[in-house]
Amino acid sequence: MNDNNLIASAKGLSRSYKKTVKAEGLGGSLRSLFRKRTETVDALCDFDLELRRGEMLGVIGPNGAGKTTLVKLLSGIMRPDSGELQVLGRRPRDRDEAFLSRMALVMGQKSQLWWDLPASDSFLLNKAIYGIPEDRYRRSLARLAGSLEVEGLLASPVRSLSLGERMRMEFIAAMLHEPDIVFLDEPTIGLDAPAQKRIREFLKRENEARGMTLVLTSHYMGDIRSLCPRTVLILEGRKSYDGSTAELFAEVPDESDVADAVERIYGGAI
């Protein structure tokens, strides 16, 4: 990456999966015992991306398009089959401490909090993992808890919290170490409208206050429109659009589902 303002750069990124295919019924099962058939699914194909510091990027597409695969490649969870990828000046696939300590991952469908304990216990564990000094930890926790309005809930077991409250705790856990880049995979899934709005406002504040870079996948128009000036659309593993969110969705009502919106724009292309 030559541009000093570039935080992430991907060239020709590709990743595929092998899927086992079996005919139905007992006969199919017996046949597959001796002759396994597989199909290769291209989750991401020849994908290019440049991301600047402080940018808030929306990644959209239908289910199975490759959005989550992209996030997992960028965060180092998976390795690409081919292509070049750098985030924070490192190769995510190496998963070195310099990379992991400056990034964060929030997944709407997976939790890093201990279910039976107060969220504060999970925060203490992250404090140790990220090596956050005590005073910085206290400041960060106070700021995030205040911003997300959960100060009174820190001592409650996570299992007793509502979904919206749990997601707010997930954000605190992910941002205690003040990461430079945050990957968000459907963070508002299942939340009601006020909870979604609260999360969006929080993310905007964090971006403005700390210049935090954000990569967000979501099926909600409200998330993409209110947070992401730039949107990348992925269809069947390939980039179909990379540009202004406002231009992409100029004719689309705010309350549409992203998939409906994309279908409307691209007609039968999906």
Partner: protein, 273 residues
């Protein structure tokens, strides 16, 4: 109650499910053979320099153990019980409630389907071992005592009754998940106890007489020890008494399983995703 055709369909689906993943299926066959081989090493070690232990010669003991391990691991109701308990705990039991499915009938049918698959795998392994030992010549083949055909036939209904008893016990353990959520501890305790009490860990013939007498009044020896003894041409005298004991246990356990399900399932709460 479920229709018989539905039960057969469940059994077929459970059979197909077991063979759907071939790595596991082939490795399972290999492991059956390994389990048997390890058992032989153990008993050869114990018999070092001895002609008999507990009234059994090495060939008889080795054959007993081979058969006991083979039949004990035919049971698949334990893994079905684990799956059922997990579905209850994860709030996925509603799939049974929303369809004309009798959970107990489904459980027994699926266990039976998987047991048939397991029997095929184990039979292939046993055949392989028998062929290898036969090919290895006289010295190796003297490690095994011959199996009596009539005894093996008589063992089948005994074994089926024993497996039914065990399946009913496993069902009751699984439905404890309605009350306790996590029943892993119950399952481990039960499995360890059953393995010992069935004679699969150590032949019941080696135990003191008071222990043998007590075990004869339970269904557990029917899962391993008794079929092995019958296949070796021993234990025919106790057959009538055993049949009565097993029938009584199966009836009692069936009633208990129905009662346990009726009582505990009322606690069920389906969780959202």
């Amino acid at each position: 109650m479920m229709r018989l055709s539905a039960c057969a369909a469940v059994a077929r689906a459970a059979f197909a499910d077991r063979i759907a993943w071939r790595g596991d299926a082939f490795f399972g066959a290999f492991m059956s053979a390994v389990r048997v081989a390890l058992a032989l090493v153990l008993w050869i070690a114990i018999f070092d320099g001895r002609d008999e232990v507990g009234g059994m010669s090495l060939p008889v003991m080795a054959s007993y153990y081979l058969i006991a391990v083979f039949v004990f691991h035919l049971d698949q109701s334990d893994s079905m019980g684990e799956r059922l308990a997990e579905e209850i705990r994860a709030g996925k039991f509603g799939a049974y409630l929303a369809r004309p499915v009798d959970p107990l009938a489904w459980f027994l049918s699926a266990s039976a389907g998987r047991t048939v698959f397991q029997a095929a795998i184990a039979a292939a392994a046993m055949l392989g071992i028998g062929l290898v030992m036969g090919l290895a010549g006289t010295r190796a083949s003297s490690l095994l005592a011959p199996i009596e055909f009539l005894g093996a036939l008589a063992a089948l209904p005994i074994l089926a009754s024993g497996l039914l008893s065990l399946a009913l016990v496993n069902f009751m353990t699984a439905v404890l998940a309605f009350k306790f959520q996590d029943v892993t501890a119950f399952r481990i305790v039960q499995n360890s106890a059953v393995e010992f009490l069935s004679g699969a860990l150590i032949p019941i013939a080696l135990m003191p007489s008071w222990a043998k007498l007590m075990l004869e009044l339970t269904p557990f020896p029917a899962i391993a020890s008794l079929p092995a003894e019958l296949a070796l041409g021993r234990g025919f005298d106790s057959l009538p008494g055993t049949a009565i004991v097993l029938a009584a246990w199966n009836l009692g356990l069936y009633a208990a399983a129905r009662a346990a399900y009726a009582s505990l399932s009322s606690r069920y709460e389906e969780f959202g995703s």
